[in-house]
Symmetry: C2
Subunit: 337 residues, 2 copies
């Protein structure tokens, strides 16, 4: 099944905090369930969070008991606030919420029961489109990868970060399905270990040969000539920068120094080209994610830690951006506006 | 007490794999105990490994029952082989063993019982000198640090990595004792977490304010202007490079890109200036250190991982090297030969 699915007014998704130990599906019955799953990272990955937010609005609409449009719009707006309060950095959540609310506002002439259907349908469309868009990203990106290449990827930008197929891992999937012999180097991605837990899980399922490294081995593998290109996902792409999982910026600088091409793969719903890096809020997560490993304390009691969930890579370090429309040099991004 | 001590034919040391949870002292009674403690990283840190190797020879000499010099030399040579087989990258082990064996060979005129005393005494001298040398490193290095500076350090180059006082943390200790207000950013240093476990432990004991980060946050903190200078230890310094804990190279490249000065602090016993980077063997440790956390698997079963314990930083990324003779630009290293 897909990473997230709508089944008769219930949203079914994988609890990604339990992988790779257990594949556990959870049922989310209202927008608060969705918001909580996003906050606790049961649901993570910018495109998946976008689809989940759309389904959050769909759950509110589906379960709505009100008969006036004013009350319905109030319920929708309240849900928007709840969803927007989960994680501030990724663009797709804001994009999905805006898209659905714009549809609703456009069709204010409809009866409440029809508006409810419209929201549920639009959420489904967002999810369906995500899969199709990722396939196109995969196809475009696969042209950048040659037989024998070793691709370094960071965090998880796979089927688990999207509704299905993946962005960065979608490119790897598409390349692999074309029969090119490739290898992947996956960074473990502290503190939440999405690389070790999720990317390794997906690559193993695909059958792509891969090697796991700790985040501090990136310079080492590049200096040994073990990396042909880097492909990561993105949480937000602004005019002058790619915002992605903490560690991406360090990798991009190292790639630049080693003349290794650095690509970010993301759907247009991740793009926020009217803003710049200075406008972006970087989510700061609890320091305990750093000072503990699971429930076990690793640092002495009282240790202070930083925990920015994302960092900002200026476009000077970015070779290209892979989206459903093709591969763009970062200087060409304005063409997409 | 010191990190390692000789007490009537027994070597007492801290089991560093148990920190910061428990401060456990272990007794090592022969050179195989020493070798095993080095291999399993109960004892770690290049200068400490050097002192431990010296004590390994001292234990063999102290416990020797043979009466002929030939047999004594055989015992010593066998111990040398055992010790040299533990960890290949750090220089100090080879330096300490060579120093003791050179002393013994110089004094072959002595009776066996006097040779035994000589070895024990020489090992003690190596340990005593290490503390004194670190204090001098601290003094020289402290001149590089200004009031208000934030120092980023990697892994643990503290009292725990030496007999006492520390190299990189010795500089921090000396600066702090002079009353300069400084802050430290410590990288956790996967896979063995010496930063989170040991450096945090030492900084907390010193009272120096510090913040723990994951290894992939180095670019982030530098891009935000949070780092004034980097000081790390070193495991081997060759003509054209500094060999140190995996991750050091990535940090040095990032420092270079952000115009942050990068220093390595190490005693002359770490220097191997007749060799170059290409001559260095990088120890590859078990992949399980990466795929597991303690006993818990973090990656899916069957995941392959790289685990080089060290990396190589070419001197073009190194601002200076702090040793007991002063601070040297890497181009000046030949003066020390």
């Amino acid at each position: 099944m897909r990473t997230i699915e709508w089944k008769n007014g219930v949203v079914l998704t994988i609890d990604q905090t339990r992988l790779p130990d257990s594949l556990v599906y959870v049922k989310l019955r209202n927008s608060r369930d969705i918001a909580s799953a996003i906050k606790t990272m049961k649901i993570r990955g910018a495109p998946l969070i976008g689809a989940a937010a759309a389904y959050g609005l769909a759950l509110t609409a589906y379960n709505s008991k009100v008969s006036s449009k004013r009350e319905f719009m109030k319920e929708m707006e309240d849900t928007v606030q709840i969803l927007k309060g989960t994680r501030p950095t990724g663009m797709n959540l804001f994009w999905a919420v805006a898209r659905i609310m714009s549809e609703v506002r456009k069709r204010r002439d409809l009866r409440v029961d029809m508006l409810r259907d419209l929201v549920v349908k639009e959420a489904g469309k967002i999810a369906d489109e995500d899969v199709e868009i990722n396939r196109r990203i995969g196809e475009h990106g696969s042209k950048l990868v040659s037989n024998g290449d070793a691709i370094l990827t960071h965090c998880n930008a796979g089927a688990l970060a999207t509704v299905d197929y993946g962005t960065a891992l979608g490119v790897i999937r598409s390349t692999w399905e074309q029969g090119k012999r490739i290898k992947v180097i996956a960074t473990e991605t502290r503190p939440r270990l999405q690389g070790a837990r999720l990317t390794a899980y997906e690559l193993q399922a695909m059958g792509v040969p891969f090697t796991l490294i700790t985040d501090n081995m990136v310079g080492y593998v590049m200096s040994r000539g073990l990396v042909s290109l880097v492909i990561t996902g993105a949480d937000r792409i602004v005019k002058d920068a790619v915002v992605n999982k903490i560690g991406t910026y360090s990798i991009a600088v190292l790639a630049h120094e080693h003349k290794v091409p650095f690509y970010a793969a993301a759907p247009l719903s991740t793009f926020d080209l009217t803003h710049e890096a200075v406008d972006v809020t970087i989510e700061e997560r609890p320091p305990e994610e750093v000072t503990r490993f699971g429930s076990k304390m690793i640092a002495p009691r009282g240790t202070k830690a930083l925990n920015p969930a994302f960092d900002i890579t200026p476009i000077k370090y970015v070779t290209g951006i892979i989206c459903e429309k093709g591969v763009y040099a970062p200087q060409q991004l304005q063409e997409l506006l």
